[in-house]
Symmetry: C2
Subunit: 259 residues, 2 copies
Amino acid sequence: MRRVLPAPDIAPQRLHQALRYAVLEGGKRVALAGAAVELIHAYSLVHDDLPCMDDDVLRRGKPTCHVEYDEPTALLVGDALHSLAFQVLGDYRLAEDAKTQLEMVKLLAAAAGSRGMAGGQAIDLESVGKALTVTELEFMHIHKTGAIIRASALLGARCGSGLGPRELGQLDLFAKLIGLAFQVVDDVLDAEGSTATLGKTAGKDAKDHKPTYVSAIGVARARELAQELRQNALDALAGFGERALRLRQIADFIVLRKF
Amino acid sequence: MRRVLPAPDIAPQRLHQALRYAVLEGGKRVALAGAAVELIHAYSLVHDDLPCMDDDVLRRGKPTCHVEYDEPTALLVGDALHSLAFQVLGDYRLAEDAKTQLEMVKLLAAAAGSRGMAGGQAIDLESVGKALTVTELEFMHIHKTGAIIRASALLGARCGSGLGPRELGQLDLFAKLIGLAFQVVDDVLDAEGSTATLGKTAGKDAKDHKPTYVSAIGVARARELAQELRQNALDALAGFGERALRLRQIADFIVLRKF
């Protein structure tokens, strides 16, 4: 990631320092396709934390970007990281051929856009103060966090030797289920966790009147649901054998973290 | 552009309506490589108009996106347009081969990022209230607007049959000069024009204590400079003959608009 980010002494220096602030240290780094996905993720966190969105002051145990720098700089940091993600996909050789790599551009852009992550954020905004059903919560999270998690898995698959359509389908199903599991666990941790273990402000969802799995079905059922999703996700990988060892470890990491 | 934008009845509907609001109707459409560049341009305008940036209420004769919708929606509109630009580059066949098209991804991403447009915005933020020299103004504008104008020209060149390195160099020089001319004209219009002819709030630069060519060298010299830049830009195209007719017309359009 340090190789991908502009050096902090290149003009405009303050912006480049702020880019590094927002990206380096911390983060879960589960992204299989690596830096490009992580840059999209980092941009979304910086923008989500802005006063006009979640208005959060703490992220990964540090002051959020707009608190450490200022609001316009944080806006530009998000925008610059967003562009940098596609610069990485255009600049480094990641796939066997340019055609496959161009598909990766399309895949990540679609996952980040209005029918993926940014769309999920819009649905999130509209759902504040509403009581959503589990089905409606799923629809929101499949966009908001699910699209990028699925893109990570599918980008990873395109970096290596080709998977067949059936295997790609199973991988996509795994990513979809584990993305939902991630969100269920996040909601439980937000309701029960402390700010120190989360690295971000705990209890914020309830305070902001955001619908969560905990508000929809309670903590006990949410814990069960996370385990069910994990099991279904692992089942989706049944045909992969040893090749899916890392993916299984990620599934466990997501569901069992601080639980 | 209507083909590229998601239909307004696709979920999330309000976001997709806001995307169309920000992109359709108006705009200068000088972008040679077309929709992708225009989407980057449109995203930058939506973000620039936000309260934490230029805090502007009028754009292209209409209320700005955050005024018509709301601030978080405008933030997401910019983000979604930004992703959509790269989705277009990944999705449509624009160049002779995938390798060239992947270069276009890299070119546009670099032009939009921290060493291009977003970087120029950061320099702009830091220059508020300062008296810049013409050289410093140039440095700012070469990033802020120049990078995308140059990328437009170079993307256009990659859509057709290949230009040699010398021709690409001349084209790039043309785009650089015409980009500066555009900014000089913009500063004169902002100082002298009315809100009605501009389609955006006139006199805003002086009010916001932004350094401009008018504040640096005065209106009369700024008008001369625009003409000199136009002439130098046209000279850069001397070797192109009839092929550069449209580019010459664009140069005239930029410098002679409402002048």
